[in-house]
Symmetry: C2
Subunit: 757 residues, 2 copies
């Protein structure tokens, strides 16, 4: 039984009421006096040189207050990695995809701004464009960025063990190719920003973002203003999933337009802009050669992966390492491994971080092939996965230690939840069971800013205020952090006021991305709370003349253990602290002990401070007339280390299933010469409530040594990653066809069924 | 020469640009979505019983969203002192002055709210009223508050030494009576509030206020919500002068109306409401009997003082002790002293804290009489003041030690600035010289909340953020605190971002009243900066393997003294701190060591941690035909201990002269049966720019042992207090008439000139 009073208990979100009543303020709700509205002019060409921009007619339109082009900007490129910092807030002489930013207008209303865009005359010289990553890699293909030969952003080669020897001793070898489509975030809140330069030259900016401190630095660099003069303020975030980590052009343009006009400026992206100009999931092509022993033990794998990153690099170099390192090696023991990844530019919208971040594609590929091999050898897929599964304490090939690992428990519990051992192979025709796996880490190395700091201040009525730079993207981070503070201080979560996500008011934080909040920020909050608790105990032990070792904290007071009636309330401790000039403010910092495996060439070390695992089992029914797949039942087991808020973890599992099902069965951005054809909610089909199967969420707890109370992360990523693999395998189990490309549409199924007959 | 680089230098206000460009946001500038506008219904009777309130017609007016009366409130009385907490946010069954709050309305605009007030039917039973404090003190006078016999709020009796013996050995005894009128604050920003209850039941409130933490507590008590659930947020304050220390009815009503409607509510006071329903200076009647030796040395004083506090007590009990303790005894040695004060209720608007807070009235009285005695004895007024002046180290009769005292320097420098020794007695007819004195303390005892705490956080670019709960009322507190942080950390003030006055974000602070900011908050900031500096030096000394005693901080870096080239920049130290999980956040708290001399009966101890002093000399010209007084020249010397920002101190002196001249020569709220007749800027005449004389500000520095860099306080109060005394004496010097009541209007002068002839 869990001895904790507060953490580990299902806890409704502290801001739920605010959200359901519509009071919660998102960036688009912010209205400032004298505010102007901005719009961005975008390239209609997939690749072109800008020869001239004439804004004079637009300038004269009444109500237009400012127009900026790339030449009006500091022209500093930005990006996730220094070596491939390739994007500008506004393009200067070249555009690289349909939607690339060319100019921005601020006007007294949106209609006038829109009209002004039409009055801007841009002369383009179209350049040859390339849309297919394999074409883009060829010698002689149009080069999209001058520095990148063969349009390669990154082409890491990784070797562990001796694959030749591995294959030589294999009983069975398969070579298969898999493809995955892109995927759009479809966060319900489109990007929106309000920027205001104050009279002293300080920039205030409200926008949905996962890491205020990271975004502050990018804004500082690209706008050339000191980092302390940029302030990101909290507004609620309507979904992030990795897509709110980077600066977007609207942030940059709103800031510059505000600077130029001296007024606040709001820019709201349309849904179409959201689809085509923010970040998507990387489409991939994955070739896998696998050698196994008769009993199913994997001996060697050789993988070539091509990821299409679109017109700019974004997190591309990270994705092509996450795919093998997390998607494969963190779930499956591979003694001999050879990998060649290619992250390739094309003249298409940009791909970047999205829940799973390179892992779901690889899981679909290696997990589909694993079932194919299991079929070849007559081994049960669950059996096969258990045989090759990594274990607690294991050192992965790239020298990361698994401080905890519940992968086997996840496999067992997810499969048994659907009655795998009894039902597998015994379902009626058209029905099938499948299983998929997923892994994740908590905390990437982001350089020295991988640190979170928290402050907790005692109030005069004995409640506390927690100041954290972290963000709640909607997943419940603030509630989870309040639980930690409450647990350590003997309070209820409702007695903690959480102030978050303001670079000027709240201390340094890594941000709510790279799965860091529970592990990193949570640890900082725990340390800050412990610090405050020790201060409280010190004050009380002096006042009561008792040994501090004999003191305990509960019910808003400091008690002498076993001596009822002698206690100091928090409120009284506060008064004592004032008299003694000891501010009752706890502080705590935490940096995960991790290495940077993403720098060029060096691919060994501790990738994440801890690893999480998941398994999803599904039962599907395939309609052989229509090709439609219905998910009948689904169980998702997730090793989060420890569930600080089980209610939030279960919610995250459910959301991840939805995203995984979209990826598996229906979502696909469709392009024609770089133009996305289905950039709206009518034509881009993601799962709706009616598409959702019943879900059995299973929380597996392994109590990791590093995180708060043993918690690791609860981003849901192992679940998203496991779903397409599970679905593909279940479809095979149901109707005997193997679809090797995502999404698995009815058309593909009907075609495969036809071919099979 | 001052060795400091930053403090002690004239420093323009950091927010000056924001203010002169109109960007600075005051409470009335805040506009929230869905905001309603409130108005308050006020009593037309000076004293009446409320028999019935019928809001039904007002309720039906379209656009009216809520109406509250006293019965809809928690009915908790509030006040500065517990024993005389006598005021309600809204009256229940009785009104006590014309303007007392009876009901409040929230509507979609101000006009509808105004119209709704007219539709509320209140049945009153008028009660006998009393307007003159002497009448009010008589047996049988109408009793305004049930608890207060003879309408006395406080009637302190103080005895030091033996007055009978003192008078018996005196060579000369005088007995005179003086009277002073009230004075309105006339802050250019009228009271204004925006209150919003959020969905979780937390109150956010923007209003001009001098102490967010004190106001938070009063709102919490009167609204019956936990103190942590009340958040006061910063807005700029357009003048305070003591008048923004207490909760006003609009704060209370806006909060309740917001709670009732679920919408933000704004209430703005009209200038008339500002005059009649906020706080004014106490009118006083002061009887003084003084015994002196032939050489001018004071032997004994017996004083009776009656202060009219209006319908509610407010700070009345404090004022009737400040008058003798600060106004007299902190400037003048009185070996034998007997005092009887009376603070009396009348059915008039409420008097409370106002710059000087009881001292200017007493200075006018005792300083006028001092010149009369000097005249009787043929002693020069400057001589007479120097002879009786208190000195550094002196223990005052009420056992307060003067840790520093520049009173004599002030007297000498102010008088010599106008050429007193050469010119006194030699001016042409109709011209005269006069001198007046003033004293002040820093820090009253306000119970355990007399503590200020500050936090200073290092930013990644080496600039810092200062978090302080203190307020900048317009006097430049934020700039002064930034100077202190900058001084300690080797930065420029512009490299400090000051976050202030937000009870949720900034730590506990006493507030910008009771002259506390420089001494108390300034000390806390200095301690926090020192704490951060020590952390920086520790990090650098470890990194450079150098002894921390050899390190120094300057130019955003930590250096080894005398070893150029080996240093760590603040930005690098920040990165090091992240790696080591040491948050670079300095914290500091400060509580002045003072006693509570205001509690009933106990009148001994350290009244303020330090005392300040001032002297004002004036040259006037009296037009004997019109009675008009023109101030030809004025010198004001002020012992502030140390001027952290001489520019702000000089500005404060100039503003104080203006307020002092208004009190001396022209300002007076005029009443007819409790109705103020001149409650507007046309009929209430305060000094305009054209009325201002040339001013010679003189800063006297005495480097107090307790304050930051030796600074004490710079509220300007000794200067306000000294002006009426100086003016009255100069008029006597010019035309030989002694006016014993303030203001010294042309009418009084003409009448006295007539009588003299």
């Amino acid at each position: 039984m869990d001895a904790h009073q507060i953490v580990g208990k299902p806890t409704p979100k502290l801001d739920a009421w605010e959200k359901v009543t519509g009071v919660a303020q998102y960036a688009g709700d912010i209205s400032l006096p004298g505010m102007l509205f901005g719009k961005i002019l975008r390239s209609p060409h997939p690749h072109a040189r800008i020869q001239n921009i004439d804004v004079s007619r637009a300038q004269r339109l009444p109500g237009v207050k400012a127009i900026i082009t790339g030449k009006d900007t500091p022209q500093v490129k930005y990006g996730v990695y220094r070596y491939c910092s390739d994007q500008l807030g506004l393009c200067i002489d070249r555009v690289r995809y349909i939607g690339d930013e060319v100019a921005a207008v601020a006007a007294i209303d949106e209609e006038i701004a829109e009209e002004a865009l039409e009055l801007i005359r841009v002369e383009y010289e179209p350049l040859p464009a390339v849309f297919d990553p394999q074409e883009a890699m060829k010698e002689g293909a149009p080069r999209i960025h001058d520095y990148a030969e063969r349009n390669l952003v990154a082409s890491p080669v990784v070797n562990f063990g001796d694959v030749e020897k591995g294959f030589a001793s294999a009983d069975h070898i398969r070579h298969d190719r898999f493809e995955t489509a892109g995927q759009a975030h479809c966060a319900l809140q489109p990007f929106s920003v309000v920027a205001r330069f104050d009279a002293s030259g300080k920039l205030e900016i409200w926008s949905p973002n996962q890491s205020p401190f990271v975004k502050r630095r990018v804004l500082s660099n690209t706008l050339k203003i000191p980092v302390s003069h940029v302030r990101l303020l909290k507004s609620h975030v309507g979904g992030a999933f990795g897509g709110r980590s980077e600066m977007m052009s609207l942030d940059f343009c709103a800031a510059l337009l505000s600077k130029k006009t001296g007024k606040p400026v709001e820019i709201d992206y349309s849904r179409e802009e959201e689809f085509t100009t923010t970040r998507q999931r990387h489409p991939m092509m994955i070739d896998i050669k696998t050698g196994v022993k008769k009993d199913g033990a994997i001996l060697a794998k050789e993988i070539t992966l091509i990821a299409d990153t679109g017109a700019y690099a974004s997190t591309g170099p990270m994705v092509v390492l996450n795919s093998p390192f997390i998607g494969l090696l963190a779930a499956c023991r591979v003694p001999n491994f050879k990998y060649q990844g290619f992250c390739v530019y094309t003249n298409k919208p940009v791909c970047g971080a999205m829940r799973g971040h390179g892992v779901p594609q690889m899981r679909f590929a290696v997990g589909s092939q694993m079932d194919m091999i299991a079929g070849d050898l007559g081994i049960d897929p669950v059996e096969m996965r258990l045989k090759n599964a990594v274990e607690p304490g294991e050192i992965l090939p790239y020298k990361s230690r698994l401080t905890s690992c519940g992968l086997k428990e996840c496999i067992e519990q997810a499969s048994e939840a659907l009655g795998w051992s009894q039902r597998k192979g015994k379902l009626p025709k058209g029905r099938g069971l499948g299983i998929g796996l997923g892994s994740c880490i908590t905390g990437f190395n982001l350089g020295p800013r991988t640190t979170s700091t928290a402050l907790i201040r005692m109030e005069e009525d004995g409640e506390v205020t927690l100041l954290t730079g972290s963000v709640d993207n909607g997943q419940g981070n603030e509630t989870m952090l309040a639980q930690i503070a409450a647990q350590e201080l003997g309070l209820e979560p409702s007695e903690i006021r959480v102030i978050s996500a303001d670079t000027e008011l709240t201390p340094q934080d890594q941000g709510a991305f790279s799965m860091a909040t529970t592990f990193v920020t949570g640890s900082a909050v725990k340390r800050a709370a412990t610090d405050l608790r020790e201060q409280l105990i010190k004050i009380a032990s002096e006042a009561l003349e008792a040994d501090s070792a004999d003191m305990e904290i509960r019910e808003k007071g400091i008690f002498i253990k076993g001596t009822p009636g002698r206690e100091i309330s928090f409120a009284d401790a506060y008064q004592l602290s004032l008299k003694r000039d000891i501010p009752l403010i706890g502080k705590g910092s935490f940096t995960p002990k991790i290495d940077n495996l993403y720098s060029k060439g060096k691919h060994e070390g501790q990738l994440g401070a801890a690893f999480t695992f998941g398994a999803v089992s599904v039962e599907v029914e395939v309609d052989q007339k229509t090709g439609k797949v219905k998910v009948i039942d689904l169980a998702a087991a997730y090793d989060v280390g420890y569930a600080i808020n089980p209610m939030a973890v279960e919610g995250g599992i459910e959301g991840s299933v939805s995203m995984g099902l979209g990826l598996a069965l229906q979502e696909e951005p469709v392009y024609e010469r770089g133009q996305m054809l289905n950039a709206d909610f009518t034509n881009y089909a993601f799962p709706l409530a009616i598409d959702m199967p019943p879900i059995k969420p299973i929380i597996v707890e392994t109590l990791d040594e590093g995180g708060p109370y043993g918690a690791k992360e609860a981003s849901g990523q192992p679940i998203v990653s496991a779903v397409p693999e599970a679905i593909a395998n279940a479809i095979y189990d149901a109707v005997g066809i193997r679809i090797t490309s995502l999404p698995i549409t009815p058309e593909k199924i009907l075609k495969a069924l036809e071919e099979k007959e």
